[in-house]
Symmetry: C2
Subunit: 137 residues, 2 copies
């Protein structure tokens, strides 16, 4: 997964686009569903310290460029996202893939109207069993 203007997305949300942060984002874009530990171990090879990975994840999660979710066995995993945080997660093998349009716009408006909240976005994680894991079971 590549993203033209990735750096720009960082800046427009008030984050400096440091090489380390970009590398962290890319790591979770290429391997969605990694744990921080796994990502940090790989990034170690690029000279990026684990504290930096934690700090980057926190910063990116804060502006919605990375989402956190519970994997099958309950571990906390992460995935990079661009606009939408819509993921399909396999409960068997833990595979993660992005989902397209969820058509939740109207629903969000409805929620905003009824709750009087200023709605800013949402995270949708769909859980299921992928074709491969279905065969096995």
């Amino acid at each position: 997964m590549e993203a033209p203007g990735l750096e720009h997305r960082f800046r427009e949300r008030g984050l400096r686009a440091t090489p380390q942060r970009v590398a962290v984002w890319r790591e979770f874009a290429e391997r969605p569903g990694s744990t921080i530990r796994e990502a940090a171990r790989r990034l170690r090879g690029s000279g990026i310290g684990q504290a930096t990975v934690y700090r980057a994840v926190r910063a990116l999660e804060g502006v919605g460029l990375i989402v956190r979710f519970a994997a099958p066995q309950g571990e906390v995993r992460f995935a990079a996202v661009l606009e939408h945080a819509h993921l399909l997660v396999c409960e068997g093998c833990g595979a993660v893939q992005p989902l397209e349009e969820c058509g939740l716009g109207a629903y969000e408006s409805e929620v905003a109207r009824r709750s009087r909240y200023r709605v800013r976005g949402h995270t949708l994680i769909v859980y299921g069993v992928c074709p491969e894991c279905q065969e096995v079971s």
Copy 2:
């Protein structure tokens, strides 16, 4: 929040409805958005050890009776749910409230058809700013 037949919901998912587990679920139902630490501290008063709280949360999360999500500042928080894991979270004060029907049924079918996954459910977290926090800002 009370739930008739709560115990039954545990058992039909293969979990023993021990008093500790029920207490843990209730704690997160009464105070959605608590951290495990907070819940454990309160439950301590009922003689429930922290290891039990962790084990209960893991078990309940596994069968979808508790969901985990990222709060404003990035901490991991939990909330008890019954059928649906639909939550509205305030990014300001961290207040959490359940949401009703999301009408995502058709979308799930669509995802299942296109991905060939056997879809089992989903978690939807809507983020926004509650009326009180809007005034402050």
